[in-house]
Structure formats: C-alpha cells, structure tokens
C-alpha cells in the first residue's frame, strides 16, 4: 500500500515537471505561429497583406477597420529599412521577434513630421550606424531590436470603405528593404 502511495507521489511530482517542460516547449515547437503563416506567403523582405481582400486574414485577431502588411527580416544579413510615402489617418509600426512577440511599437503621432521611415538594427549594428551614418538614413527613426530574425508589421486605420483604395495604395508603397 505504501509503495502504491509512493508511486502516486512520484507520479504527481513528475506531472509537475512534465507540465513545466511542456509549457516552455510549446512556443519553441509551435508551427501555428505568425512566422509560419507569413513564411508560407512570401520570402524575407517581401511585404504581405495580413488581411488580403476577399480571403480570410492571416492574423485572426486583426481589427476589421485596420489594414496591415508585414514583412519578415533577418538582421544577420544587415539592417532593414521600412519606409513609405504619403499621409493616412493613422498608422503604427511594430517589430516582433521570431516568436511573434511585440518588442517595439511606434505610432504616427510620435514620428517627427509624420514621416514613415524606419531602420531596424541590432544594438551592435546601431554602434556601426552611429559612427558612419549613411546620408540617405538622415531622417530615419532607428529601432533597436535584440533579435536576429523578426517581423515588421505596419498597420493603418480605414475609417470607412471609401478610404480602402487610399489605404491599400499607401500600404502597397511600404517598402521593406535590406540596407
């Protein structure tokens, strides 16, 4: 009887350990995350609409009044520049790591003159950029991201349907380039 009790206690302690291990491994092995969904759509540095017209959105939680594009990047290839032209009622940009976690976000009110021009770099690359800033990046806003692979998401607000072409054109103009 006491041996059965012993086995039960050992089993419960083991269940606790398995619980923690499984919980921490789920994000590592998940193939249902945003990165996997995006990698089926396009290669690195190609922008993808998260809410393609006439198709289910890639990101289920996306607000119906928000249009968004995303691109994947790999900072080991070099810094990535995300920029666009024109004015829209509201935009925001966020940088996500490989697991899709939001590590940095920014909206149009925080940008000087409403410019949409960002450079994502690792802390080490930032030091290099500060020492010798390329003239074309003079107006850029620098985002330090301590991640190798990641995702940039650009969102824009669509107040009503008549704005749809304007917002779509603006999002199409968002370029995600290796610099």
């Amino acid at each position: 009887m006491s041996r059965l009790l012993h086995a039960l206690v050992v089993g419960l302690v083991g269940a606790g350990i398995v619980h923690i291990v499984v919980l921490l491994l789920v994000p590592v092995y998940s193939e249902r995350d945003a990165w996997s969904a995006l990698s089926q759509q396009a290669n690195f540095y190609r922008t993808v609409r998260l809410d393609p017209p006439g198709a289910p959105p890639l990101i289920g939680s996306l607000d119906p009044l928000i249009d968004a594009v995303a691109c994947r990047f790999d900072l080991r290839d070099g810094v990535v520049r995300v920029h666009g032209e024109g004015q829209v009622p509201y935009w925001s940009i966020s940088v996500h790591d490989r697991a899709g976690l939001n590590v940095y976000s920014f909206n149009d009110r925080s940008s000087p003159r409403g410019l949409f021009d960002f450079v994502v770099a690792t802390p080490a690359q930032m030091i290099g950029l500060r020492n010798a800033l390329p003239p074309e990046l003079d107006d850029s806003i620098f985002i330090e991201a301590d991640t190798a692979e990641g995702i940039v998401v650009v969102r824009a607000f669509v107040p009503d349907e008549s704005w749809e072409p304007t917002i779509t054109a603006w999002l199409r103009g968002v370029a995600c380039t290796l610099h």
Binding site: L12, G14, I17, V18, L23, V26, P64, N102
Partner: protein, 194 residues
C-alpha cells in the same frame, strides 16, 4: 518484480498524462496571469510581449497572432453583460457610459469560434469613435443587436454567445500602471427574441 514494474508504469503514466493534460487544459481555457478586469471587460496588456507569462506565451504561439504594442493600442473583450449573463446574439444590448481617452477606438463582435461577425447586409462589421452620433455632452451610446436600431448600431446576426471587442488606439492607459482605475462603459441588456 512485476509489482515494481507496474508501480513504475503507474508513476510514469500519472506524470505524462497529468503533466501534458494539465497544460492542454490551461491553454484551452483562457487561464492567465496579468489580466486586467474592469467591469465585464478584460484586457491582457502583456499578451504577445516578451513580458507575458509562460501560459500566455504558449497560447499566443498557437494562434498565429501579432499583438498590438503599447504605442499602438489595447484590446478589451467582454463576454458578459452588466448583470453577469453571457452575451447572446438573440438579445439586444446598449453600451453606455464613458470610453477611456484614446485617439480613437473600434468596436466589433466575434462569435463563439472567435470569428468576426459580418452581417449579410453589407454593413461595416465594426464601429469607430470618429463616426459616432453623440449627445450634446459628447457622450455616446452604442446599440448591439440583430435588429436595426436608431443611433449608433453595431449589427450582429446568428445565435449563441458572442464576445464584444473594444480596441483603444494610441491610448495612454496602455502604458500606464494605473490601468485598473480606468472606467469602461457598461453593457446593458435591453431585451431578447423569444
């Protein structure tokens, strides 16, 4: 000998089934720490950020999500009305009271499968604060029902429970530690179809 093998098997079975099963249960239910509850509205400010707890992160990794950051906005969801009843698509609701300060907010409805409710009539599936009818004192009520309602109306259709999603964009409360002191509007049931 046989007995000790059996006991080892029992211990192993409890460990594996219990451990994996309890993770599955925790992820299937919306179990999580760091939730902010205001009235019937719930927000997960850390969801989808590196500060999120392991349960939130594990759930996040299974839903192909890219959460809003602090500079972008904050999402509140409600499953129950002011009387504590589950929100039902057969009923009409009025959302009244103050909305927290934000640049603008959007309101939409999702069904039990968390899919956006889009009505057949072609109405926009969401309302936003920049196009609302307001009282002289700037306050606004929003009606949510399957039947056309005067004033601000969020159209829904179908049957069964649903969730209201209120997203505040560019709001100071997303980055504030005093988020729990914010007031959110009440969801009042007005009547139901028989």
């Amino acid at each position: 000998m046989l007995k000790s093998i059996l006991l080892t098997a029992v211990a192993l079975a409890i460990a594996i089934v219990g451990g994996a099963g309890s993770v599955w249960l925790a992820l299937e239910r919306d179990f999580g720490f760091d939730t902010v509850t205001i009235g019937n509205w719930v927000a997960f400010p850390q969801h989808g950020t590196p500060q999120a707890d392991p349960y939130s992160r594990a759930r996040f990794s299974r839903e192909a999500d890219l959460a809003l950051g602090r500079a972008e906005g904050l999402v509140f969801t409600a499953r129950r009305d002011a009387d504590g009843q589950l929100l039902s698509l057969e009923c009409a609701y009025r959302i009244e009271g103050e909305f927290p300060p934000s640049r603008f907010w959007t309101l939409s409805a999702r069904d039990a499968e968390d899919a956006l409710i889009v009505t057949d009539g072609g109405r926009a599936p969401a309302l936003h604060s920049l196009a609302l009818l307001r009282h002289p004192d700037e306050a606004a009520d929003v009606g949510v029902s399957a039947h056309a309602a005067p004033g601000n109306w969020l159209a829904v259709q179908g049957s069964g429970p649903f969730t209201l999603v209120l997203t505040l964009y560019d709001t100071a409360i997303a980055s504030s530690a005093r988020i729990g002191e914010v007031e959110l509007p009440r969801i009042v049931r007005e009547g139901c179809d028989e």
